[in-house]
Amino acid sequence: MMVYVVIVTSIAILLIGYIMAMSSKELIRLLISLELMFGAVFLALMPLFTVPNLTTSAFGIAVLTVFTSGGELMILIAAMVTFSKKFRSISTDDILVGGDRI
């Protein structure tokens, strides 16, 4: 029962993160939505700890997830600061790809 509750919570938080990412007009909100999604991933890992044979592997996956997601978010933060210095804005409307406006 408890595992079911954890999984449903994880899916709900993940989808809230998706909606926030799709609707965001600022890069900060995009960053916040990504962190929400990674939080959902951490929550989805919890049922692995309920299986005794998988506890060590689950902990390894958790460590990898923390450091990978942390690195990814730090890169996004650095990109956001650079973007802000260059364009004096953090609006997603100002993002250019190959000279085209998204």
Binding site: V3, T9, I11, L15, I19, M20, I77
Partner: protein, 149 residues
């Protein structure tokens, strides 16, 4: 029962993150959501992951996000939700829910004994940590409000 309450609280905080107009408070609600997720690990006596999430994820990256949100705060915040995206999100939720609960038999192995051991041994530590996190967030809120005046 405690786990269900914490799960509900984390989902409410995630919705608050989505529906808050001000990005700064959105970042604060996001930090609370992540702390409650770490709290679920602590509640089930998985202390190493609790420490990893709280100290590295919330303590470092969450704090940087809150600081950035305070720095780039919009003086006239507005709601940033495209309600059309709720439709594919609900469909996705239904598909994932059906695929997980329709085809797999998930074991429910969380035991009450671990929770009782946790409460006896770590409750002071966890209370101290939550107090510290709340104190840090209050300090940031006070700083931002002082700057805004």
């Amino acid at each position: 029962m405690t786990l269900i309450a914490i799960c509900c609280f984390s989902v409410i905080m995630a919705f608050a993150t989505l529906f808050t107009k001000d990005t700064f408070y959105s970042a604060l609600y996001m930090s609370i959501t992540l702390i409650t997720i770490a709290g679920m690990y602590a509640l089930n006596n998985i202390q190493p992951v609790f420490v990893l999430i709280t100290f590295i994820f919330v303590g470092a990256i969450g704090a940087v996000t809150v600081a950035l949100a305070a720095m780039y705060r919009d003086p006239r915040p507005k709601l940033q939700i495209d309600f059309v995206w709720f439709i594919p999100a609900i469909i996705t939720f239904a598909v994932i829910f059906n695929s997980i609960f329709g085809f797999n038999n998930i074991p429910s192995a969380f035991t009450n004994s671990e929770i009782s051991v946790f409460v006896e041994e770590y409750v002071v530590f966890v209370l101290f940590f939550f107090s510290l996190a709340i104190l840090l967030m209050l300090a940031v809120v006070k700083f931002v409000r002082r700057e805004g005046v």
